[in-house]
Symmetry: C2
DNA sequence: CTATATACGTACCGGTCTGTTACATTGTCA
DNA sequence: TGACAATGTAACAGACCGGTACGTATATAG
């Protein structure tokens, strides 16, 4: 199975950025739970890069520099940790999406193209692993899985947001245009991982623009 | 983790269709390896429905009604079994694709739309789990994994085939149209699992047609 | 009717998986 | 100082993982 071999995996404990050389200025740091954050940050990296099923809790706590009981004190199960990771991912997504939108106030077409320009670039990078939420949904087909719930909810909201934007673009059939854009976006997520640089993501902006224009004309 | 519990999983041994009530007609059945086929068929179902990582070899052999050594006599590892499953899947895909094409000789646009009509329908079924090859690639990001190799190779061939068809459609920029169609198709694979009936796959044919027409005009 | 090859099963291996326990240690605040 | 919160230590459990050494049934060939 080409198993993982935790020991020789290299990749030492991730940077313990807070604390360490405590300058005199720090107000005695009333620290509060820090292990949970480190776990979530580490889990985010590993889950995104390798997939949720592929990563064990032992690997997470080892790389995070904490211990297993700390993980289970903050998260009731690995599944819940995965769900927490996805909730964070959801927030990150919308931050990026709305930041792109904010660059072109009142112009939904340019808002979307702005987002797609960034996505198109990211999707061609070697370390690109698609959308964490889509990936999680594929990893967990069972609809009652905590991770899957977060993903499905997210995608429904994205679809709704796209319909809203499609209306603003003046599409004759906003539902159809929105679905076209959603299919396109999900396509970028997947093909980005499959083809890397020079993949179909390369032409995504151009394609989206054609799609939007065509939806108006007809 | 909500583990599986093999014992109570129900789902008895799959139908042992060949053999059993051997009529007098059967020429003494020189039987030959039958376990390997049962394993591959069972693996196909489980891998597709639940994902490769999610399924253990114990579950496969149990449902196939055979034993583990039989599996390892025919396949050098689980990874190789997964690769074999994907090679079969690849054949199935092209059979379906070319069958759709054969329905509209010399008309690449209708050939593709024919395929998309079928896909659009399938993608809205409750048991739809997307493209086994795409899913496998997401499950195994490492490019040297046997399963991943099969998937990447398949996707490259699909992309090339779409370029060829896009040329036949008279697209001004066949590469761009082909990528648009590929993004669309991958989008259907993913959203089919996420939204089921009434999902974006519903509008896929309409969107593809618009895309193709727009690619000619401009 | 034996000899051999084929196809398969029984029983097991060492290791890893998620999840849990009881208890010790540390730093912080009152 | 003493209570408290946060974390670590060091095991353990029970299931499951991929993989294998070895015995067994069957059928054909000679």
């Amino acid at each position: 199975m080409a198993r993982k071999n935790l020991k020789t995996a290299g990749g030492e404990t991730i940077d313990k950025s807070p604390e360490k050389s405590t300058g005199a200025a720090a107000p005695k740091r009333k620290r509060g739970p820090v292990a949970a954050d480190r776990i979530k940050r580490t889990a985010r990296d590993l889950f995104y890069r390798e997939g949720i099923r592929a990563v064990g809790v032992d690997e997470i706590v080892a790389k995070a520099g904490v211990t297993k009981p700390s993980l289970y004190r903050s998260f009731s199960s690995k599944d819940e940790l995965a769900a927490a990771y996805l909730r964070d991912y959801d927030v990150e997504f919308w931050t990026r999406f709305e930041r792109a939108a904010a660059a072109h106030p009142g112009d939904p077409k340019q808002q979307l193209l702005e987002y797609l320009r960034g996505l198109s670039q990211r999707a061609q990078r070697a370390d690109y692993r698609g959308c964490g939420l889509s990936n999680a949904a594929l990893e967990y087909p069972a609809t009652d899985h905590p991770a899957r719930r977060v993903s499905e909810d997210h995608k429904r909201r994205l679809r709704a947001r796209l319909v809203e934007m499609a209306k603003g673009m003046g599409a004759k059939q906003p539902d159809v245009l929105a679905d076209g854009l959603l299919l396109l976006i999900e396509g970028i997520f997947v093909t980005g991982q499959l083809f890397g640089a020079g993949g179909p993501a390369m032409h995504a902006v151009e394609i989206a623009e054609t799609m939007i224009e065509a939806s108006r004309g007809r």
